[in-house]
Amino acid sequence: MSKYIYMDNAATTPVKEEVLEAMLPYFTEKYGNPSSVYSLGSESKVAVEKAREQVAKALGADKKEIFFTASGSESDNWAIKGIAYNRRNKGNHIITSKIEHHAVLNTCKYLEKQGFEVTYLNVDSDGVVDLEELKNSIKDTTILITIMFANNEIGTIQPIKEIGQIAKENDIVFHTDAVQAVGSVEIDVKDLNVDLLSLSAHKFHGPKGIGVLYVRQGVRLDNLIHGGGQERSKRAGTENVASIVGLGKAIELATGNLEEKNKKLSALRDSLIEKIESKIDYVKLNGHRTKRLPGNVNVSFQFIEGESLLLMLDMNKIAGSSGSACTSGALDPSHVLLAIGLDHETAHGSLRLSLSEFNTEEEIDFVVEKLVGIVDRLRQMSPLYEKIKGEK
């Protein structure tokens, strides 16, 4: 196989041709500022509003509820800080989970320094939050629940509708970081009782540097970016027109035939998991076996370390990622893998392969064949494997 096999779609995705084509005119010919009154400006304005409608349709929302931001991280920051500061007179307690993306976790940690109190919910060994623990954590001072839709590392999907219901019953605002879920899972914000939702275009074949915060009508939150009157005076800054157009096109394509696409993708995912589990010993699937993103595979190979695995995969033109500390420069491995109860050694040996509609069964077979050899090679070098063999 001569071409690169890309299985890191949870990190980012290539921009689709149709998306790029839709974007290109807005860099050169149609460069007007949407706030300008002349026709060049209003042309851009129309394009932005069309994209807003495309996003609203994909989420089952109204276009007035869609606000463009510069990233998923900005959306998370805005949602959490915006609610925290707006509802400060009502209370100072926020509930989140231990397996959130750092955009949520580090925002919560920042707010703790500002006098807010944060509860970090545990998850079970599959990575699912416990609804009883959530209910028991609610206090009179709870103003916000922020729980991710689906986990970026292990792919586990949370019971969002139930969480939304609990929040609603207790008059608490519910935000979900849906960066990994949009374009992969059917989402209807009304049906799911979601008040705020973050998404990012580059996870579903749109451009990088553009995101959305969905804000249910009637939910009030403070601004994060202060300035001009863009985005109905809620988010200042000249609109990134080309990227907004790209996001609109990408979300339309991604949610268009979701059911059919997901059937194929989850079959591919399960085939990859099945082949890895049947051909390699001492392997553990991380995350829920069925309640997981259709493209997510996350496994731990015992006795070896993830970065070496990634380097050897790269030598074979295969791209994946790992929760090992050595891939991030941190001392500890992934907080998600530790939260689902993995010991450090097993967490260091994790490999995430995240698939897209562009991956094939042929690629799966090639990757598994290479993995068998690489895992064996690294184990032959590992003093931990030597011990296990000795005990056998």
Partner: protein
């Protein structure tokens, strides 16, 4: 991120394996940090005749182990004692700053194996009395 030399040693590591009747065996690091190095020495007449290693760890940990074995093979105990982590890193044409601890681990693995040898054969080795194999090889910088 890695030099060509690191990648070359990672992909084709020298002296991987075990020595069954080793004169000195040292193991440093721990699984918690994500790297463990085990080094085996065969010593005759104060000269390291053979050396093998096994490593659980990242690319630079494996490359550092491989380079360390090359640097001490055929050398005297004194010469091996003088191999610093810097020497290992330099021989690899440098390591990224966050990976320097891998070369520290390689230096410690050599010393740990020599310490085992000195105890086994009751030989005093200059410089081993005050050596510390605690897990401080990680110079961890917390992000604010």
């Amino acid at each position: 991120m890695y030099s060509e030399k690191v990648m070359e040693h990672f992909m084709n590591p020298r002296n991987v394996g075990e020595i069954e009747d080793a004169d000195g065996v040292g193991e440093v690091g721990n699984a918690k940090c994500g790297d463990i190095m085990k080094m085996y020495l065969k010593i005759d007449n104060g000269i390291i005749q053979d050396v093998k290693f096994k490593t659980f760890g990242c690319g630079s940990a494996i490359a550092s182990s491989s380079m360390a074995t090359e640097l001490i093979k055929g050398k005297t105990i004194d010469e091996a004692m003088n191999i610093t982590n810097k020497a290992v890193a330099e021989a690899l044409d440098g390591l990224p700053p966050i990976k320097m601890h891998c070369s520290v681990l390689a230096e410690q693995a050599i010393k740990s194996a020599l310490l085992d040898y000195s105890k086994k054969y009751n030989v005093h080795i200059e410089g081993l009395d005050d050596v510390d194999f605690s897990d401080d090889h990680h110079d961890h910088i917390e992000e604010e």
